[in-house]
Symmetry: C2
Subunit: 453 residues, 2 copies
């Protein structure tokens, strides 16, 4: 089994500026120097250990509630228009005046019940100075602004929002859990009990954390009747309706409106690249398996994409830059005529692979490329597909009635071997969700299980 941290893999792709600041920061980390004024800092960057699985993340580098240092001193650096906070442990953080005024937590500036900003940007002086800074008896940082409006900030609140690169990185990882463990054919798919996930918060958190980090979790013991994927969706919040319905029945159907609704082989694909925002997470529940064939196959698309980047950089560049048309027409929940343009491999600004969009069945015959780019597109795509098809990348499993697989549809490619059904029809029920909703539930479960971080 191959495990790689994308945080390591992508170190080389980070912005040079950021790297330079990090180096400067390392040199200066024990001093509240001008350098620190520029970038913010904390005295002792704790060693960050990232377990392969489980609940602990970079967020562990953030101070826990009650465990964070108090404010020793706070002062205004008027020239730099920064507030300098020195913590009890000697570390320093720096906060721009404008940001502090923008985020005043008082009831006039924040609608408490919605935890939303009510101060208008038009009323914000983005060049504000400060009149007075002091530390209150309850160890809050109090700022009086030139118009005599007063803001008070809790030490924990400030500490969590420190602008140092380390604090920002830890906070972002806590919010979005973007670290991934890549895998190949050696993966033992993590398996949990369906009913435990439904009824136990710790099991549900375990499920979603693993789904996020690894991209796939198998649940066993679901009742062998329709409606279980909807039930599981409710555990998160709600499912995502598409033109194939709230949930959909994967069976061999006459006049199939989708290639999945046949008994043929399904080559490795992601679902619904014909939408501009394909579903993030997919559930598939086995109600009836075929007599012969019908085994499932999955591949870690991020792992294969990284291999492509290293070994076939031209192909990687082609698939991350050219936009390909996808199409899906027919009738199901209602009639539909869907068209999208998606890159086969989506990368974010930092070069991280964030989504695979590939379904050969719905790739449009309309190909919006200049003639001289067509051949390189096909060659690049073929290279990528051959890589994902290699046995060392493919995990094969056979679903039995009551099994329910949950996976990251932005990351995994999945397929199915052709099958033969004699007496009874192979039948899976499926549903989609979006990552925003899944991550929302994950954050809420994490808070319930571990408390606020």
């Amino acid at each position: 089994m191959c495990l790689q941290k994308d945080s390591l893999l992508f170190t080389a792709t980070r912005h040079t500026t950021e790297l330079t600041f990090r180096m400067l920061y390392s040199l200066a980390r024990f001093k509240c120097s001008l350098l620190q004024v520029l970038k913010g800092a904390s005295r002792t960057p704790r060693p960050i250990t990232v377990p392969r699985f489980g609940h602990q993340t970079l967020a562990a580098a953030l101070p826990a509630v009650g465990g964070s240092p108090g404010v020793r001193q706070a002062r205004a650096l008027d020239h730099e228009r920064l507030l300098q906070v020195q913590w009890d442990d000697g570390a320093c953080s720096f906060y721009p005046f404008t940001w502090l005024r923008d985020n005043c937590q008082c009831p006039l500036c924040t609608l408490q019940s919605a935890q939303a900003r009510s101060i208008l940007l038009t009323d914000l002086d983005v060049h504000t100075g400060v009149d007075q800074v002091r530390v209150t008896d309850s160890n809050k940082v109090s700022i009086t602004w030139p118009d005599q409006h007063n803001s008070e900030f809790e030490p924990d609140w400030l500490k969590k929002r420190c602008f140092s690169p380390e604090a920002r990185q830890a906070r972002q990882e806590e919010l979005f859990l973007n670290e991934r463990d890549f895998w190949d054919s050696g993966l033992q798919i993590p398996t949990l009990d369906f009913k435990e996930v439904l009824h136990d918060d710790k099991a549900a958190l375990d499920w979603l954390m693993t789904l996020r980090r690894l991209g796939i979790v198998y649940l066993k013991g679901a009742p062998v009747e329709q409606g279980q994927v909807a039930r599981l969706s409710q555990r998160i919040g709600y499912l995502r309706l598409t033109f194939y319905g709230h949930t959909w029945q994967v069976q061999d159907k006459p006049m199939a409106n989708n290639i999945a609704y046949t008994s043929g082989k399904l080559s490795l694909h992601t679902d619904y690249p014909a939408l501009h925002h394909p579903p993030g997470v997919q559930f598939l529940h086995c109600l009836q398996q075929a007599q012969q064939g019908g085994e499932s196959e999955v591949v870690d698309g991020f792992h294969v994409a990284e291999f492509l980047r290293r070994e076939h950089p031209d192909a990687f560049n082609t698939l991350t830059s050219l936009r390909v048309d996808f199409t899906d027409t027919g009738s199901d929940y209602c009639d539909f005529s869907v068209q999208s343009k998606n890159r086969i491999i989506d990368v974010d600004n930092e070069g991280r692979v964030v989504r695979i969009n590939y379904n050969n069945a719905t790739r449009d015959s309309v190909l919006d490329l200049p003639l001289d780019q067509v051949q390189s597109f096909y060659s690049s795509l073929k290279t990528f597909v051959e890589l994902m098809d290699q046995p060392e990348n493919v995990v094969t499993y056979r679903m039995e009635p009551g099994d329910l697989v949950t996976f990251d549809n932005w990351r995994l490619l999945h397929g199915r071997k052709r099958y033969v059904s004699h007496s009874s029809l192979r039948h899976l029920e499926g549903a989609y969700l979006d990552w925003d909703e899944v991550m929302s539930r994950l954050r809420i479960l994490r808070k319930a299980v571990h408390g606020d971080s």
Copy 2:
């Protein structure tokens, strides 16, 4: 009223390569020369007229069914691995062998009922030659491949997929209708009858075409009772469920979980940037208006963004490059803890503004920027907000019971003046949809009203 074509505005930002090809193409457009072999062409690029509103688009440049020329000659250019098709009118098109084999329309290669590709990429020889090319008696292009598999292509099907820049541009505009008319405070918001839109395909098409091009359409005459936004959603397909419910009631509520659910002023914003894929289209139906205040305001975000690009390029670059955290926590349809990172202004690969993501209320206090970028972020945002607030950009209207406004939430910013209600509560009902679903219905209606294009 100010109207600008983004197709004109963006000419300067197109890829130089594409421009070069266009120039070469212009020089060579009357000859089936090697240059055309490289880029594909059609003999007479018709003048393209784009009306400000209405149904006609660049797609009009595409041949209508029955009106397109037949095939005069087809031959294989083996060295270039291209099929050359000469049309009856003397124009030429060129198609790569690989693309033709990939898009064989025979029942073995295409699942007819789903109009989906069934040939696997692993079975596609991306370096294929051809054995024989001929024009059949029914004027189809017939290709026999080296393995003796045979493909036949209809002239119309091929013509629509011509790789010339003009044909591709026309096809893309037909599929996605990306041309927009920008506007300012002089806009007279187009108004249609609610019931006509529900029951008449031509009115519904008019509605959606105008919604796409202009970003806002007002519907009058909806029954003054809840459920009308859901009814209108069904006219398209389905609405988008969010944490605020299938539809949501905009009223002054105790312990409001959203700043919209107060009687305060709402500054100009887009809805739900706390989702990574904010809703594309919004419906708001007035059931009860306030006694005083509560007027609605809208601004064309694309128009303002273009002004920002021209007049404040640094601010534009800042807002199109920095990703900003948004947050939304609370409980409604269920409990939620949503976080996103979005740019305030999203541009596509060609530099076109494609989405505005801005709601000051849900902009997170977590700001993931290095200290030295914070001030330029605030200054840029303030410049953008001041521009959108300028009276020459703002259209103000007052909704009355039975009015229903539909608008592009990726493009328009909307706001509301503060209001006072005495005896009865101001009440709007809202719903969201996504553009993919709206565009799907638009394509189906266009086909129903105008026939296949």
